[in-house]
């Protein structure tokens, strides 16, 4: 399995692209922002790309809805404990919010050869449904944006947050899946028995009994109206396939590069272990380069006497509850440590008393993570 070489810092020119992955609700977005902020404070021009951040995080970064259209600079000021980079200068931090529908529309506009082709796509009722509901579109859009940023080459560091999918690898497979879905060749084959080149339904008299039954059942189940819509949609997309395919290929190359490092974030608790291991294994198998695993929001271990069982089971004592949570989280952590391959950095971040609400507290999270990673690296 590919590792970041021992002693290589997480933030540095070895890894110009960091992809933060993991299940939903584990604090991925906050960690991505914290890492980006820390990189910028260390003097590297940085872009953080994120989906759907909380209002709290948007406030902390001081960015609003305008970040959906373009990267917006974060006003770093000179607060915080930033160690400026080699030259003594703090880098730039830009934040960008990813919006599926807008990116898709932009893409159609860019690749459609003329106005008529553009309208044919945007007006097709299947497009309206597809753009909003086809699984993976959002993920696909993220990599499109990533490609744009990478090809411009304006940043020394890009941190990409990923959408909260349960099967978080969906994100990485989205480009090839969607290109496959839009692949003109395959679709033409699929639709050939039904439509002639002009999109009209072909006669089926030449088919035998089984063929006619097959066709009538297929018609009954799928409905020819829908098929005609789909066919029209894919025909309308045909001029775009070339561009889509080429970009998906380049994005895949970028994601599989040894210079792209994945950080896997997990929640505490034993029930998360299977997910985390599964995810780590699949990343490796698929040829991506996994760096550290971060177990986030671990409750502290509590010592000392604890109250007995509460009178009312629906109102447990807070100290006893936290002690139990601390015990549960450390049990899970120890279990996970035993299962993670040797040499894979694994760090735990504690549950904070408060969520970061400003740049200083956000940077503190980033520094804490880097320090713990240093220490974890030193143990080996």
């Amino acid at each position: 399995m590919a590792l970041n070489a021992p002693g290589t810092p997480l933030l540095g020119d070895e890894h110009p692209l960091i992809v933060v992955v993991g299940s939903g609700g584990v604090g991925k977005t906050t960690l991505a922002a914290a890492l980006g902020l820390t990189a910028a404070r260390d003097g590297r021009d940085t872009l953080v790309m994120t989906f759907d951040p909380s209002l709290r995080l948007k406030d902390a970064l001081g960015v609003g809805e305008e970040a959906r259209d373009r990267p917006v600079p974060v006003a770093l000021g000179d607060a915080g404990e930033g160690r400026a980079g080699e030259g003594g200068a703090v880098g730039r931090l830009d934040a960008s919010l990813l919006d599926a529908r807008r990116t898709f529309d932009r893409l159609v506009e860019r690749y459609a050869p003329d106005e008529a082709a553009r309208r044919r796509i945007l007006d097709n009722r299947f497009y309206a449904h597809l753009a909003g509901s086809l699984a993976g579109i959002l993920e696909y859009m993220a990599v499109e944006r990533l490609w744009e940023v990478a090809s411009e080459g304006t940043y020394r560091q890009v941190v990409l947050d990923t959408p909260p999918t349960r099967q978080a690898l969906d994100f990485l497979e989205a480009p090839s899946r969607i290109v496959g879905f839009l692949e003109s060749g395959a679709l033409k084959v699929a639709l050939r028995p039904w439509f002639d080149d002009a999109g009209r339904l072909k006669g089926s008299s030449r088919l035998g009994f089984l063929g006619r039954r097959f066709e009538s059942f297929l018609d009954e189940i799928v409905g020819l109206d829908l098929l005609r819509d789909m066919a029209e949609f894919f025909q309308a997309f045909e001029p775009l396939y070339g561009g889509f395919r080429e970009r998906a290929r380049q994005v895949e190359e970028l994601l599989r590069s040894p210079r792209t490092l994945f950080v896997l974030v997990s929640g505490p608790g034993e029930e998360r272990i299977a997910d985390t291991l599964f995810f780590a294994r699949r990343l490796g198998e698929a040829g991506y380069h996994l760096g550290p695993i971060v177990v986030n929001r671990v409750h502290p271990q509590v010592s000392g006497p604890l109250p007995g069982l509460p009178e009312d089971p629906c109102t447990p004592d807070g100290r006893a509850l936290l002690a139990w949570l601390g015990e549960r989280d450390h049990r899970g952590l120890a279990h996970l440590r035993g299962l993670v391959p040797q040499g894979r950095p694994l760090v735990a971040l504690p549950l904070l008393r408060r969520e970061p609400t400003d740049l200083a507290s956000l940077e503190a999270v980033g520094r804490e993570l880097l320090q713990r990673l240093d220490r974890a690296g030193g143990e080996d």
Partner: protein, 314 residues
């Protein structure tokens, strides 16, 4: 709230529904809430028949975890009996789809050809709203006693533990969407029938689950807005899950970091709960965070807590 009788207790209102869709952001404990609702409502006499109420919790997640909550082995798609009138089934959306197709095409050779054809494959993967309709359709067949695997037995109530990915609103809006796209055939018909079923507050209810944290609360409020706009529906119930016990009044954590963590975390939660009190009209219950691993004991305790909360609501 429109369409409800204010004087009727919340519990019996919930129990009268044929379908409860439990939805919310990933990681908020939807499965625990679905299992707890199931445990609470199963076994008590159904008003129509006087017989013990049969409740099926239906999970659509490739990684099963509801069986753990109910102390059962993974069922592999079969209906499993969790005792006390509670049943459990886990199916993948594609399985549901293939089953429905299989029933419509009695001839094995043709069925195989249809299912193997690239057109069907594209359709099954790409048709908008199709998987969601298959899921809801399966639930509807269970309450109507039309599922061949249920041996002709009807369930009084199906509780759907909705998939974590995707918005709950898209799930419920899917029947209407699909019936607009496909007008004929089993799926078109099913879409139309389901659109009616889901729109009827007497038949189908929506239970939104959240934890008292910013993003889940935000998503819960968005869900409610989306339901109102796209389906003209109000959720039946909001469950605020995993709430920390209140920090004792007048006490100070001193230099004890554990007490400080309790106080601060509880304060963050209270802020979110206040936000819900402000922006969420309609029933709103809290379930505690408990020092217990997921399993039947946790569900048993949560059932007691939920029962009490239901009785105390208004």
């Amino acid at each position: 709230m429109p369409g409800t009788v204010p004087s009727e207790p919340l519990r019996s209102r919930l129990a009268r529904r044929r379908l409860l869709v439990v939805t919310g952001k990933g990681g908020v404990g939807k499965s625990a809430v679905a299992a707890t609702l199931g445990r609470l409502l199963a076994g008590s006499p159904a008003p129509a028949t006087g017989q013990p109420r049969r409740v099926l919790v239906f999970e659509v997640d490739p990684r099963e975890n509801l069986h753990q909550m109910l102390g059962l082995p993974p069922s592999g798609g079969e209906i499993a009996d969790a005792g006390g009138g509670l049943y459990l089934q886990n199916l993948k959306p594609r399985q549901v789809l293939d089953r429905i197709v299989a029933e419509r095409i009695p001839l094995e050779a043709i069925r195989r050809r249809v299912q193997a054809s690239p057109v069907y494959q594209q359709f099954a993967e790409g048709a908008p709203g199709l998987k969601e309709v298959a899921i809801l359709g399966h639930a509807l067949r269970l309450v109507r006693g039309l599922d061949p695997d249920a041996f002709g037995q009807k369930f009084d109530l199906v509780i759907l533990d909705a998939p974590a990915t995707g918005h709950g609103v898209s799930l419920l809006a899917a029947p209407r969407l699909l019936s607009e796209v496909i007008r004929r055939g089993p799926f078109g018909e099913m879409g139309a029938e389901l659109a009616e079923f889901v729109a009827d507050p007497e038949q189908a209810g929506i239970v939104v689950v959240t934890t008292p944290e910013e993003m889940p609360v935000h998503e819960a409020l968005e869900l409610r807005r989306g339901l109102a706009e796209r389906l003209d529906r109000e959720p039946e119930l909001l469950v605020i899950n995993a709430v920390y016990p209140p920090f004792p009044r007048g006490e100070s954590p001193g230099d004890d970091p554990v007490l400080a963590l309790w106080q601060d975390r509880r304060m963050l939660q209270e802020r979110e709960i206040e936000r819900l009190e402000r922006d969420w009209a309609g029933p709103r219950l809290e379930l505690p965070k408990l020092p217990e691993d997921r399993g039947p004991e946790l569900v048993a305790t949560l059932t007691r807590c939920l029962e009490r909360e239901l009785a105390a609501w208004r």
